[in-house]
Symmetry: C2
Amino acid sequence: MSYGATPYPYPMNYRSWLYQMKSSQPRFLHTALRIRNVGASLGFYIDGLGMTLLDRVEIESARATAMFLGYGINEGLLELVRFWDQDQPYQHSPGYIHAAIGVPDLKAILDRLQTMGVKITRSPVVMTQGAPAAAFLHDPDGYELEIVQTHNG
Amino acid sequence: MSYGATPYPYPMNYRSWLYQMKSSQPRFLHTALRIRNVGASLGFYIDGLGMTLLDRVEIESARATAMFLGYGINEGLLELVRFWDQDQPYQHSPGYIHAAIGVPDLKAILDRLQTMGVKITRSPVVMTQGAPAAAFLHDPDGYELEIVQTHNG
């Protein structure tokens, strides 16, 4: 099974990097979530949130497609996994809260996402004293994201 | 409400770092999960997996305690949130898969976790050709973790 050629090239190969990585310390690698629509998720995270597709692998034995996305191969990544035989939407449990992403121009990101039809579920708000503004929204599978305004360096 | 002084100091203040951070690029910050037992989670992630407590904040308005843990303030982190009024275990949905952590000595980590009473749900296995071995287990709230053998640099 194949979802066809992705319009998003992935010049970096996350697996090769990971398999070769040398580190004397433990490190956080990625958070993995199941998704249902490869095209919708890639559009959301790449076109909407500006991530890069770092790898994509078809796992025939598990009947799944795994994609690694992020802002840099050294940072925490998202692994999005499409199980080919999953027809129903995934139910969400109250345990998982969200992934948080820092952006230098929160308004620009939110404007772009809204243009793409994404609903902002909570407009930018300062949660605790001294904190930067953060907005909340959901990805195509309903996973919450917190988008945090960081300083533009 | 308070869970008392944590035995884990946190010399770094993640919030201060985040609030001051300057970056012209978006970046992945953390994955947030709800947990039920602060002591059990800190013991598991700090004593077991070698993470550092980077910040802890009591959010009175939300009646919650948030803790940020990880291997370095520049990497992807976990935010573990204890809602004070949550009595029941969190149900897990099939959408969330796991967080993945790379370690230079997989056997040592697994031995230590087993000594602490953690059950290894899947012994180290090579999932795909050329990949490093990975083991699977669950944190005190039942969230799956993938522990990946990386090279010792």
